[in-house]
Symmetry: C2
Subunit: 167 residues, 2 copies
DNA sequence: TTATAGTTTCAAAACTTTTTGAAAGTAAAA
DNA sequence: TTTTACTTTCAAAAAGTTTTGAAACTATAA
């Protein structure tokens, strides 16, 4: 296997992985391509290498910038915009965790807080509802706290923690 | 807010959450409905409460059984099948982690192992590729190990670990 | 100012996923 | 055996998502 083939394989698989995480294929593939690139790339290079349209490339690059995973760069004397990716996977994961927290954990916790105020009555159904939602809230809030701490920590802390757990 | 409203809200939000985790809306909603139910439910009850078709209900219930999140039950003297959900969120999470590990972590690790064998040459691109993929593999394998341990542990262990980290 | 080189937008097309519902299948009851 | 009560399947329809490409926009250069 040569570099081109390996690169292609990795980009494809990163795209598949993205899809099952609610990130669209093009977005994940652009991210993979930029992570692997030693230099920043232009929209045209991305279009060419991934065989996607200008609109698609532009939209998804903007989404990646929005997620804080890709950055723009201007080169002196050049009119084109260049793009490069955050390569430190720890930073990538922190960024993703932060975004997903905002998009997923916050809304479900809001709903859990709302329903915890509801007048549920004393039926079996009401009791079960209270019990299940309280349980869920307990675990989700622990997770939430964990993400909060992790997002403020550096990779060494995290790796140390994981190693300790695993050993 | 009364029970019906609270229940409806929670089910809706669980559906939304599911979608961003690659689990389809109906599947997540059925799961929510069954988690909240003090008693097991029939296909007809699920169809009625969620306003979905028989085929949809049947397919997604089978998928949930496949994921190990829902179980069938036969009541004596009854011909209908009853369904109930795993309610302990810790078990739910372990089950989901196991499934996703199989579907996502294993394939990406396979690809990483494959490309690590590639003849990449000594170009900047080759070196960058090696560096980035090695980094990714290091973090993913730590995660993988963590999931493995977590899946064998009970909720108390996990909560204790999290608490220690967070405090 | 006008031309040029680039970026952004968005409606329509292509594609993917989910849902429906009716028909086929299964097994207990009559 | 036939009927009845249920479950399963799956092709087609609906819904949702992504992608395209051309037109509109922006900003620099001539």
């Amino acid at each position: 296997m040569d570099l081109q083939e390996a690169k292609y394989k990795f980009i494809q698989e990163w795209g598949v992985l993205g899809s099952s995480w609610g990130i669209n294929r093009a977005m994940a593939q652009i991210h993979a391509l930029l992570m692997l690139a030693p230099e920043s790339k232009t929209t045209d290079e991305v279009m060419e290498e991934l065989k996607i349209s200008r609109g698609n490339a532009n939209m998804n690059m903007r989404a990646l910038i929005d997620w804080g995973l890709v950055f723009k760069e201007y080169k002196p004397g050049e009119r084109k915009e260049y793009f490069y990716a955050e390569k430190d996977l720890w930073n990538v994961m922190k960024q993703i965790a932060k975004e997903r927290r905002k998009r997923e954990i916050v809304p479900i916790r809001d709903v859990l807080a709302e329903v915890s105020e509801a007048e549920l009555g004393n039926t079996a159904e009401g009791k079960e509802f209270k019990k299940v939602t309280k349980d869920i809230d307990a675990i989700i809030s622990k997770f939430d706290g964990f993400i909060d701490i992790a997002a403020k920590s550096d990779q060494n802390w995290f790796l140390k923690v994981l190693s300790k757990l695993i050993k």
